[in-house]
């Protein structure tokens, strides 16, 4: 299917006290209609910044530097003015965020906030917008939607607020939904429901979704394609099934081995794979692969030249010099000997 969003060689620098700091390097992604792309990585990987770059909601006060190309529905977003972006946001591209507790305006009712968004993008009356808002809430499976419209945010639970956020985001039937850690602040049972809602809405409306999370489990469950990010770079991308079944990049493998699973237990002598060291600061310049200092398989070339993308299977990309030699070595990573 023709991708609705094509990001090519995206780079981003943000202004700080002294000069600029590079946050993203050479990020390329595709998202197809009705598909969910998962962006996964640890804190500081640049996954959220990628999303904010698409909607141009960057924290640089207009002084940020954006390079590369973002094509959305055949149009180049990087060349759009703030005014054009305003019309696109909420109508064609919507976002939902991590903190449902702070993302709704505390002094307005839910109904007011929803109808404001609807009326911004559609020329209809407040009453019609209210009807639409009620339908939207019903479609995210909220009972007594009419009552909820009259509520203030503080009267709703976290899960309910996130539903309302999804309702607002989908109210103009956007072509792309960006969900930035939408379930991180929620309990697991609530999370399961919200994940289901997002997936259902995406299939029903044919909306493309960029789903950002640090949780490999969440990503593996609801995403069709996945991109793993590390320190502002994409290290591996492909179909979710391929990436999680045959991870090729040492970082992906290490990350997967670090997650506790139901099958492992300390009592049985299992060890989790702990990646030594810490994620490099974005301002730190590095000649080679940014994972090299922590990578058990790094060789001379890793420290001197940045890796280019290598196609390992159908649509499965890996950015690693040594993926072939590294792949078999990590294995299942059980027992003490596996800890590097």
């Amino acid at each position: 299917m023709e991708p609705i969003l094509q990001i090519r060689h995206l780079s981003l620098s943000l202004p700080v006290k002294k000069g600029m700091v590079s946050i993203l390097h050479d990020v390329s992604l595709d998202v197809a209609p009705g598909q969910i792309l998962g962006l996964v990585g640890e804190s500081g990987s640049g996954k959220s910044m990628t999303a904010f770059a698409v909607t141009r909601l960057l924290p640089g006060g207009g002084h940020e530097k954006l390079g590369g190309s973002i094509r959305f529905c055949g149009e180049e977003l990087t060349e759009k003015s703030e005014k054009d972006m305003q019309a696109i946001r909420g109508r064609d591209i919507s976002m939902i965020f991590q903190e449902p507790m702070t993302c709704l305006n505390p002094v307005f009712t839910i109904g007011r906030q929803m109808t404001d968004v609807i009326m911004t993008h559609q020329k209809i009356s407040r009453a019609e917008a209210m009807k639409k808002a009620e339908d939207m809430l019903a479609s995210v499976h909220i009972r007594q939607a009419a009552d909820v419209l009259r509520c203030y945010p503080y009267e709703l639970s976290g899960g309910m607020r996130q539903r309302v956020m999804i309702g607002i985001a989908l109210s103009c039937r956007p072509k792309l939904l960006i969900a930035d850690e939408p379930t991180t602040a929620l309990d697991v049972t609530v999370q399961a429901k919200i994940l289901y809602l997002i997936r259902e809405a995406c299939r029903r409306l044919g909306t493309a979704v960029i789903f950002i999370s640090h949780d490999l489990g969440v990503i593996s469950q609801i995403c069709d394609t996945v991109a793993v990010m590390y320190s502002g770079h994409i290290v591996e991308a492909g179909k979710a099934a391929d990436v999680f079944e045959t991870p090729e990049h040492p970082y992906t493998r290490a990350l997967m081995a670090a997650v506790p699973k139901f099958t492992v237990s300390a009592a049985a002598g299992d060890r989790l794979f702990a990646i030594p060291g810490i994620v490099p600061d974005p301002s730190e310049a590095m000649a080679g692969c940014r994972f090299a200092p922590r990578c058990p398989f790094a060789t001379e070339i890793c420290r001197t030249a940045p890796p280019s993308d290598t196609l390992t299977g159908a649509g499965h990309l890996v950015y690693c010099h040594n993926w072939q030699s590294a792949a078999p070595a990590i294995g299942v990573l059980r027992g003490k000997e596996a800890e590097a």
Binding site: T55, L57, E82, Q86, A87, I88, R89, G90, R91, S94, M95, F97, E99, T102, C103, L104, N105, P106, V107, F108, D116, V117, T120, H121, Y152, Y154, M165, I168, A169
Partner: protein, 340 residues
């Protein structure tokens, strides 16, 4: 719209604070002075008057009996006789009250309106020239001694550029309008005497602006900082992500939230204005309570000073209760739960 519970709670609080205020004023007039009777009759009274005053104060009585007597007097509007004029203090204060009310109300309107405009302009155009100018105006304002700005204003706008009159509420050849509210501008409008209205406004401008300036500066700083704060909140980012136009975000979404702390500040502002009235009225020979108390101070006319203190404080407490209720109206969570 506001719960009964909330109103009741504020009213009970009001009663408690009134009680507290009366305790403090009682202490000031009966406990702190070495010889309260001497304070009451003034330094030049004869020994007989002093003895009579001792008896009438019941200084031989236990302290709580004295307090009850004090309160009974207050309930009957008895604040004692002025030493300077030998008239009941309550009557004198009532005579001067409208002038003070007119001045402080005018000053409050100026401070609040221009303070908010300046603060918002500053926050929205952060670090642009508007912001710099507004910040300089505010910085000078918060550092400006009220008694000095009044004198300078007189030198500038009475002596050097004779634009405004130096004293009084009306031109000498005009007689005050028939009293309804005691505010010349309002009464003049009611009586249809436009010459009185214009003259009253002409006389009011200079003292009101001088009195307002410091508070204007404080409000502008507060609005600026809370507006900047609000503009960085998650729900503003959400609104941006929904494509709500920038103007709507600033003037509807952010402003309402930013004004909530300003409402409380306005309550405090009124206190400062009432205190400042003593100085401003003296400088501009404005025939209000402030000038009355200033005249009393040079005679050490203690009953007059305490009467003034009581009236001003009760008024201040009353206004702050209104402010609290407005705060509740603006802030849905507090309105419902009655908590703060």
């Amino acid at each position: 719209m506001i719960s009964m519970h909330f109103l009741l709670k504020r009213l009970l609080h009001l009663v408690l604070v009134f009680f507290g205020v009366s305790v403090v004023t009682f202490c000031i007039s009966h406990v702190i002075p070495g010889d309260p009777a001497r304070m009451l009759v003034g330094p030049h009274a004869s020994p007989e008057t002093l003895a009579a005053a001792r008896a009438s104060l019941g200084l031989d009585q236990p302290i709580w009996t004295q307090y009850i007597q004090y309160m009974t007097g207050l309930f009957h509007g008895d604040m004692g006789l002025s030493i300077r004029t030998q008239m009941p203090v309550a009557g004198e204060l009532a005579k001067y009250f409208p002038a003070t009310l007119e001045l402080t109300l005018a000053a409050m309107l100026i401070a609040v309106i221009f303070g908010i405009v300046l603060g918002v302009a500053s926050a929205v155009h952060r670090d642009a020239w508007v912001d710099h100018v507004s910040r300089i105006i505010s910085l000078v304002g918060v550092s400006m001694p009220l008694f000095w700005s009044g004198v300078i204003a007189l030198i500038l706008f009475y002596k050097v550029f004779p634009i405004f009159p130096a004293s009084g509420r009306l031109d000498a050849f005009l007689s005050p309008p028939p009293p309804v509210t005691g505010l010349y501008i309002v009464d003049g409008l009611i009586a249809g005497q436009m010459d009185v209205v214009l003259s009253a406004i002409h006389h009011l401008i200079l003292p009101a602006v001088c009195l307002a300036y410091v508070q204007l500066a404080i409000i502008a700083r507060q609005v600026r900082s809370s507006m900047i704060d609000v503009l960085e909140q998650d729900y503003i980012r959400t609104a941006r992500a929904c494509g709500i136009p920038r103007r709507t975000i600033i003037y509807r979404y952010a402003l309402k939230n930013a004004l909530i702390p300003t409402v409380t500040l306005t309550g405090l502002t009124i206190g400062e204005l009432l205190g400042g009235a003593v100085i401003t009225e003296t400088i501009f020979a404005w025939p209000g309570m402030g000038k009355y108390v200033m005249d009393s101070i040079s005679f050490l006319d203690f009953p007059a000073i305490m009467g003034f203190t009581l009236v001003i404080s009760f008024g201040y407490v009353l206004i702050n209760t209104v402010v609290d209720i407005v705060y509740g109206i603006l802030n849905p969570q507090i309105r419902e739960e009655g908590e703060r």
